[in-house]
Each structure stands twice: as C-alpha cells, then as structure tokens.
C-alpha cells in the first residue's frame, strides 16, 4: 500500500514538474457528472466510434480498395472463377479466409448502425429536453455536423465492398450528382474519373472513409466533449438541482468506472451481435455490374428515409431550352434533406428568437412543459418515419401482404397529412399532462382507497405528494407571449418590422400556450376550502 502510494506520488510529481497540471487535475478528477440513463446515449455513439476505429483498422490490413478486375479463387465456392473487382474479392477474403475476419466485418457494420442510431436517440434526447439552449447552441451545431458526416461516412463504408447492393447505391448517388443543374455531368465525371462506374471511385472514397472523415470526426468529437466538460453537463430538474449547480457523482472513481465500464459493455454487445447475427452478406449479393439488380435493393436504415422520399417523389422533370432539371431527384434527394437539416441546425436560434429567451439554461425541460417544441419534434419524427417506411415498402408489402402501390400512395399523402395531425395531437397531450400535473399537485395522488364519511358519502382518499415531487412538477418557469412588437409610441409601425414582428408575436403566443402551473397559494386556498 505504502509502496504503491509512493509510486503514484512519484508519477504525479514527474508529470506536474513538467506541465504544472496538478491544480487542473485535482479540480477535474472530482468533476461532477449527473447520472441518468438518457445521458448515456451520446456515450453509446462515442464508444461505437471507438469500436469502428478499432475494427476498421483491422479490416484495412486485408482490404484492397481497388476496382481492378480479378478472378476469384478463394474458398467461397459459389463465386469460384467469377470476375470481380479487387475490393469485392478482398472483402470475400476477409470474410472466408481470415479467422475472425467475418466477425470483425460484422462488428464494424453493426457498430456503424448502432453509431448512427445512438446519435439519433441522443439528438432526440437533447432536443426534447431543450439541452440545446443557451449556452450549448454551438455544441448542437457540432452534433448536427456529426450526424450529417456520420450518414455520409456510413454510406461510403457500405459502398466499399463493391457488391451488387452497394454498387446499386453508388449508381443512385451518381444519378443524384448527375442531376445537379449546370454542373451535374461534370461533377459526376470528376468524381468517377470518367463514366460510371470507372476504376477510381472506390479508391477515392476509401481514403475519405478511413482518413479524411474519421479525422474530422475526431476533431469534432473532441470539441464536442470539451464543450460538455467545460460547460458542465445539464441535469434534470428535481429537489436540490438548480440552474447554478450540478448534482451527481465525481469523475473519480464513480464516473470513470461507470463510463469506462459502459465502453466495454457497448463493445461486448456489439461483438455479440457480430457473432450471432449476419449483416451485409456480400457473398450472396454478388459482385457489382450495372446490368444486374436484386429485388428489395435498400440502403442501410440511416439512408432509408432518403430512399423512401425518392421513391414517393412525383414524376416531374423540366425540359426547357435544351436542358433538363430532374425535380423528381432534386426535391427528395437534396432540397427536402437540405431544408430538414438546415432547420434542425437553426432550431436553437429560431426558438430563442420566438421566445425572446436570452438566459443560460442548465436545467432540462420536461417535454410536456414545452408543448410546441415537443409537438414539433414529434411532427418531424413522424415525417421521417413515414419516409423510412416507404424506403422499405417492398419488404413491408411482401411480409404484410400489402401492395407497394398502396404503401406508396399512403405515404405520399401521409407525408403531408400526418405530421400536422401529430403536431396537434402531441401538443394536446402535453397540455393534458400539464393539467394532470396540476391536478396531482393540488389534489394529491389517487390512492384507490374509499372511505365513508359520517354522512354516508364515499370519498376516495387522496395522498398528498411529497415536497420533492411537488417541486419537480412545478419548478419550471412558464413562458409568456411577447407583447405586440414593432409598434412605436404612436402605434405606427414600419411595414417590414411589422410583418416579421407579427409572425414572431403569433409564434410566441402559440409557444406560451400552457396550463397554469399550480402555486402554493392555490394549494393553500384549496386546503382552507376543505376545512
């Protein structure tokens, strides 16, 4: 014990002599992290990224990112002597002739799907709890950047083996590039080094996949985490939790053990999936050639919504002055995703503008207390889910005995009709939940126990909430609508400011729609009324 303490002291002394880090380290080793399961979602993404780096490095030792044609003579008999690209052949080699190669491929692919799924649920948690508010807007933007790059990175990785399914995906990506007005065909020829599919695309996206994007990821993730560290984590409201403090466990040892342990758990579960569930069986897809196709050609799930949008797009092209504009590709492939991601990125600023809220926020919102935001989130989610469902319409059709045409029409209309309905319903649900909170705070919890009064009347016993619970349900501040803006003292307003101001006032009014939070005075009045 003495011995080990002395060694630890020596090491710390050695480092501090050279960096002066003791002060910083002392403070940060006791840094407090709030504990909640939903705060682990981002960690799942982080750990999946590390798993991707490790398993991906393993794969690069054998993967040959080349589109040179080779004749396969490995151990998978059904493809024996088939002409294919070197990247496809080397992926077969990893799968069948490297012990644990297929396992690593599957871990890599499952980790990629988990990585993006975890980013999405993490994003949803941050959105619905309002964790993106001041001072964390920049970190929200970095997060959106990571999601966007993650989708691109995933697509490139899926494309590398050059199998029939992923080649079809590249073909579609090429069609999107080709559809760009004015520069499309040039951009396509530059990207593919000539006509599709060419011989340079896989090598090029390989270096982007294994070097450029992971590098950007590392940089962005570092800044993302440093900001979390520096700004301290948000926390859920509750007794003792204030905007001015953070309640939780110190980094050393509790959080280190939990977060470190969770890395191994995520890795272990991913390895388990890699062991028991087949993913991307490229040997069955066959090598890519533009003349072949499989029924049910889909991208991975994170691109599925895009594919669904492309499928349901109306058949519109403009032909004028000797030029063609493919709206059927541009609208679902670029314009709608562009609007969605831009809107998502700008949302913190839009919300702050509408609410006029300029304060720092470290306590999270309960989603019901911000009905507009929650409804908007649910609405966007329904939009994405409908698109995603249409991306798998052929599989849904065969497995549930529906028709692809029926699903297509349903989603075409559903995409426009369902999200607004979801908005309205979600907002109503939020307000009802607020009402329920109010009831339970003022009248207590229904116990289901009946008592008879001396008059022979039956009453249900209501159990008063604990002070902690009451505080949790009432601690939030309710927004008020902004007053009519832009009016000067004479009631004259400039037209431009008036329109913008009016819009803002209208949205602010909607934003402020709340069921009044119960007050202690109300509770007291009720109390005295009872007696």
């Amino acid at each position: 014990m003495k011995q080990s303490e002395r060694i630890a002291g020596n090491v710390a002394g050695y480092i501090d002599d050279r960096t002066g880090a003791a002060g910083w380290a002392k403070k940060n080793l006791t840094k407090v992290f709030p504990d909640h399961w939903s705060f682990m979602l981002g960690e799942i993404a982080l750990y999946s990224f590390i798993i991707l780096l490790l398993s991906g490095t393993f794969l690069t030792f054998w993967f040959d990112p080349s589109q040179q044609e080779v004749v396969y003579n490995g151990s998978y008999a059904p493809l024996s002597h088939v002409t294919m690209s070197a990247s496809y052949a080397s992926t077969l080699h990893i799968s069948f002739d490297i012990r644990g190669g297929l396992l690593m491929r599957q871990i890599h692919h499952w980790a990629a799907l988990i990585f993006l799924a975890a980013i999405v649920v993490h994003l949803l948690r941050v959105f619905f709890t309002g964790a993106f508010r001041k001072p964390r807007e920049a970190n929200w933007l970095i997060g959106i950047g990571l999601l966007t790059l993650g989708i691109v990175e995933g697509f490139l990785g899926y494309s590398l083996p050059d199998d029939l399914l992923s080649g079809t995906g590249i073909r579609i990506a090429e069609a999107i590039i080709q559809a760009l007005p004015v520069v499309g065909s040039y951009a396509s020829f530059f990207a593919f080094g000539g006509a599709f599919p060419g011989h340079v695309f896989i090598p090029r996206i390989y270096i982007v996949h294994v070097l450029l994007l992971p590098g950007i990821f590392l940089a962005l993730i570092t800044v993302h985490l440093m900001l979390v560290w520096y700004q301290k984590h948000t926390q859920y409201p509750g007794p003792g939790r204030k905007e001015t403090n953070v309640v939780g466990y110190p980094l050393m040892p509790v959080y280190m053990a939990k977060a470190g342990g969770f890395f191994f758990i995520v890795f272990g579960l991913t390895a388990f999936l890699g062991a028991v569930a087949s993913i991307n069986p490229i040997w069955l897809y066959g090598p890519y050639t533009p003349g072949q196709i499989s029924a049910g050609s889909q991208p991975d799930w994170y691109m599925g919504w895009l594919d669904g949008l492309v499928r349901m797009a109306p058949p519109i092209e403009t032909h004028a002055f000797g030029h063609t504009i493919s709206w059927n590709i541009l609208i679902p492939g670029l314009i709608i995703p562009g609007i969605l991601f831009t809107g998502m990125a700008l949302y913190p600023f839009i919300e702050a503008w509408i609410s006029g809220d300029k304060k720092e926020h470290h306590l999270l919102d309960r989603p019901r207390n911000v009905p507009n935001r929650t409804a908007l989130g649910a609405m966007s989610l329904s939009f994405m889910l409908i698109s995603l469902a249409n991306g798998g319409n052929d599989i849904i059709a065969t497995h549930f005995h529906l028709t692809i045409n029926g699903i297509m029409w349903f989603t075409r209309f559903g995409l426009i009709i369902v999200p607004p309905i979801v908005f309205v319903i979600t907002k109503r649900i939020c307000l009802s939940l607020q009402r329920a909170d109010r009831e339970i705070v003022l009248h207590g919890r229904e116990t289901g126990r009946l008592v008879m009064t001396p008059d022979g009347e039956f009453l249900e016993v209501h159990e008063e909430l604990s002070a902690e619970k009451k505080w949790t349900l009432t601690q939030h501040l309710q927004p008020t609508a902004l007053t009519a803006p832009g009016e000067d003292i004479n009631g004259v307003r400039s037209k431009a400011a008036g329109l913008k101001g009016k819009l803002r006032a209208r949205m602010s009014l909607a934003n402020a729609e709340q069921v009044a939070s119960p007050t202690e005075r109300e509770a007291r009045q009720l109390e005295s009324g009872h007696h």
Partner: protein
C-alpha cells in the same frame, strides 16, 4: 350452380364425342407411327389422356373452359404443354383456392399420376413443352454454380431477390421464394413462364445454363448461416430493425441499470 351444371351437361355430350374422336385419332396416328411392340404403351397413353380429361372437366373446366379455350378469369391452355400443367398443378398453385389472390404454392390437390394424366390431356390439345423428367435434370453433375449465380443475378434476382427469397411486384403481386422448390418445377417455370413470370427460351438461356441456375439456387438454399442468424436474407431492412430493437434495446436497458441507484 344449377346453370353451370346445366351448361356442363348440355355441352358435355358433344364435347366428349369430339374429345374422344380427337383422342382416338391422335392415338391412332401415334400408334400407326410406332412399332407394334409399343402398342400397349400407346393405349396406356390414351387412357391417361382420357383420365386427364375427366379430371380436367371436373376440376379445371369451370374456369379454363370445356375446351381449355380460356375464359374471363383464366387463360387458354391450348399449347401450354404438360410442363405448365406439371408446374401449376404439381406445386398446388392450380386449382386456385381463391380467385382474388395470386396463385400460391401449396399442397397439391392431385397426386402425381393425376397430374401426369392432366398433362397428357392438355398436351393432347396442342403441342407444348413436355413435363420435365427429374431424372434427366443432372444439375448436380452438369451445373456450374458460379455461372448459375451470374445468370441468376442477371435474369432472376430482380424479382426473386439476391438469395432467392422472393420479392414484391406491382399491385400486390409478388415473386415467390424459391426455397425448397423442386428442380423440375424451377425448370418448368423457366420454360413456361407461369403467372407474372416471363419465359426464358432455351436459346437465350440454354438447357445447360438452366441447370446451372438450378444448382446455384439449390446452393443458396442450402447455404448455412455463415455469419449467424440470416435475418431473412432480405437486405438492410431487417438489419436496421434488429439494431433499433435488440441492439438499442439492450444498450438502453444496460444504461438504465447503470444509472439506477443500488439499494
């Protein structure tokens, strides 16, 4: 019902006579062309045609017409050959259980002898592709699995999916899975083009190539779960589903346990 029975009775007589004449005629013409040693076989053939006709009139004529000329809901069978009959009836697709839906593979209603009789009758109407003799399909010996795979991916995968699991067609139709389909039925489907499926002529896909396709399908069917549970071999949809259910479910479950206080 009564009307149909009436009609059947009304036409049954003359048709029987015509059919009998045809049968006798064709039997005679075949018989006269054959050496006498095979006479007994020929008469067996003609009884087979008769038997097939009886089955046809009972089980098929209501839709396909008494003369197999087809009707509002069913195609003509003149010239489709015994191969089509063997495929449709032998895989249980015909007779249809339900008019509204696509003919599905199910337990055949007729036994092989009856199917052969039906085939003999239909091919007696006009020549067509003959039933494929399973013994003649030496796909295990003559097929080339890699070539079969290439042919399958070019000609079949767009409907039946990359692993022969089937896929969606327009308006609720579908290409069925090829798992567990008998080689002779695959071969017959290729040459007769049942339902939505087009025909693949012997000149564009040679008989040898067809054997290769069969060999590849059989190899894909028999392929073990190399990487673990196959998830239906329908591509990324089920993979995504598994990640969002089992994958994230387990991870979030652990996160909830991790963040909960110990007692």
């Amino acid at each position: 019902m009564n009307a149909r029975r009436f009609r059947r009775q009304k036409f049954a007589g003359p048709i029987l006579v015509v059919a009998a004449l045809l049968t006798i005629g064709s039997a005679f013409s075949i018989a006269s062309a054959l050496p006498s040693a095979q006479k007994s076989e020929v008469s067996a053939q003609s009884t087979l045609v008769d038997e097939g006709k009886q089955i046809f009139l009972k089980g098929c004529a209501s839709c396909h017409g008494l003369n197999s000329e087809g009707g509002a809901v069913a195609p003509s069978l003149i010239g489709v050959g015994a191969a089509a009959v063997d495929f449709q009836v032998g895989t249980g697709r015909m007779p249809l259980a339900n008019m509204s839906q696509q003919a599905m593979r199910k337990a055949p209603l007729y036994n092989p002898t009856q199917v052969a009789a039906l085939g003999a009758y239909v091919s007696s109407l006009a020549p067509g592709p003959a039933t494929v003799d399973p013994a003649s399909l030496a796909w295990e010996r003559d097929g080339n699995v890699a070539q079969g795979g290439e042919l399958f991916r070019t000609n079949c995968a767009m409907c039946h999916n990359f692993a022969a699991q089937g896929g969606a067609l327009s308006n609720g139709k579908y290409a069925p899975t090829l798992m567990g389909v008998e080689p002779k039925h695959i071969y017959e489907a290729l040459i007769t083009g049942p339902q939505s499926m087009p025909k693949f002529s012997d000149k564009t896909i040679t008989p040898a190539e067809k054997l290769s396709i069969i060999k590849w399908i059989k190899s894909a069917n028999a392929e073990p779960a190399i990487g673990g549970a196959s998830l239906g071999r329908v591509g990324p949809v089920t993979e995504g589903l598994l990640v969002w259910t089992l994958g994230l479910g387990l991870l979030i479950g652990v996160a909830v346990w991790l963040a909960s206080k110990a007692r």
